[in-house]
């Protein structure tokens, strides 16, 4: 049972997909302009992640190695399209808020990355738990970053005005440069937490530091 809990909580901090594995950076920067968009994107991506992890894990012995990427992408794209249709039909405001980043979940590296790194090598239940954990970590990060940026650029969180009207808003935080600032800040925060809890993970660059190190056969194998 311990290992199941470990799998679940992995994605929250130790292997946080955005801040530790540095996957899914594009939607992170784009949708964290407001806390609610971050939450919506996180939930949509988590749903896709769990479903695709379950299916890919169930088929891991069936899909030949040669065609694993086309197969994974087809499965992931199907779930994203289903989510997109459901969101367009029942949550139209979210569709407008996420815009093009909703269909872009197909190429969200977190989902394909976890499929390669975890689901293709582990049992269904474990893969599902990993999906939940990673999704939670992703959503949590998006909500925190979104709240931070929304608070400073608009003075509200989830639309609720927090800062008094008289305070000038730092609107730069709501656009691209602000996104990068926030990203760097949060990464520094995670490293600080690691140091404080004596969990400092040495980060290296190149093949040594790549989170896909275990799955990858070596330099240049990505083709």
């Amino acid at each position: 049972m311990n290992s199941k809990v470990k799998t679940l909580t992995n994605g929250l901090l130790k292997e946080n997909p955005v801040l530790r594995l540095v996957l899914g950076t594009c939607p992170t920067l784009a949708v964290t302009t407001a806390a609610s968009s971050g939450l919506g994107m996180g939930i949509a991506a988590t749903f896709v992640l769990i479903c695709s992890n379950i299916v890919i894990s169930a088929l891991r012995k069936v899909i030949p190695d040669k065609v694993r990427l086309p197969a994974y992408i087809t499965i992931i794209a199907t779930f994203v399209t289903i989510v997109q249709m459901l969101v367009k039909a029942f949550f139209t405001e979210l569709d407008t808020a996420l815009g093009v980043y909703l269909p872009l979940i197909v190429v969200n590296c977190i989902i394909l990355g976890r499929a390669e790194m975890f689901a293709s090598k582990n049992k269904v239940v474990d893969s599902a738990l990993d999906g939940v954990g990673m999704g939670l970590g992703f959503t949590l990060t998006l909500v925190l970053m979104g709240s931070f940026r929304e608070l400073i650029s608009k003075g509200s969180i989830f639309g609720v005005m927090i800062l008094p009207e008289s305070l000038d808003r730092f609107t730069l935080m709501g656009s691209a440069p602000g996104g990068f600032f926030t990203f760097g800040l949060f990464m520094a925060l995670v490293v600080w937490i690691e140091i404080k809890t004596n969990n400092r993970i040495k980060r290296s660059i190149g093949c040594e530091g790549c989170p896909s190190k275990g799955a990858c056969a070596g330099k240049g194998e990505c083709e």
């Binding site: 088929l59 069936v62 899909i63 030949p64 040669k66 065609v67 086309p70 197969a71 087809t74 499965i75 794209a77 199907t78 399209t81 289903i82 249709m85 459901l86 367009k88 039909a89 029942f90 139209t92």
Partner: protein
Amino acid sequence: MAKNKSNTWENVVKPIVVLVVICLITSALLAVTNYFTAPIIKEKEQQAAYAAYFEVLPGADSFTTVEGFATTGVEEAVKADNGTGYAFKAVGKGFGGDVPVIVGVDMDGVITGVSFMQNSETSGFGARLWDGSEDGATYAAELTGKSGSVALGQDGVNGLSGATVSSTAVVNAVNSALNCFAEVALGQEATVEEAAPATLEEAVTALLGEGAAEASAEGAVAAYTSADGALTLVAVEAEGFAPMTVAVSFDAEGVVADLWVDVSGQTQGIGTPAGEAAYTDQFVGLSDAAAVDGVDTIAGATLSSDGVKTGVAACMEIFQTMKGGN
């Protein structure tokens, strides 16, 4: 032999089979989801498209599209289901292309609201209609409450200062909407605008009427006088981006009555607006070369605009010679 067979199965057949099965299952899943969500999505999209109509006809609760109307200048007409009136998406020809205008008309033929959609008019001028500045709202308010037909400079309709062409386009669009209302709500005959003349012969008929007689004029490509002798038309070849025929009709005093320009050789969308009424109407009523020179050129279409100006000035000169009697 057996090893070969299993290799083929492993390397060729199995991957194909697995992929095909995966694709079949995913397609089925997508088809099912689409079946349930497509109608809901379509309805939501239609509500959003109608959002503009709700803005100009506040009393309405839902709309049905009106089919089969013939009035030119109107792209879409919808009728309010609760009988409060109609709304139209009308288009006028502006400086940079189409100027879309949404007009709401109540059952008495009175305009209930006007709103402007995105257009390609010049920024700071015609673009003030939709860029959120107050001028657009003021103009919309000037048009609200009018009925029958509207005209610039009449009845409090001032338009945008410094953007006459765009303001005229709006007036044309609003009139198209009112004409369409007359057609669909009151059953009157549709006002269908004729297509612009494409050749010099067609232009002569359009500008002078039937039975125009040929006249002689030195330096002109052709010259005609109308059947009643009141109007004279002079046509010249001018140099724009490419050669263009400019034909101007004058009244007895030498004042420009109308003109036609063959812009088929100019760059589509850039130089061709030099031949459209929005630009050529500025020459109507002028009678000397200095006034012609004072007309602005279209931004980004200097050669074509200058071609029209030199053409009109040349026609004027030839007309003076004709009248003066050489």
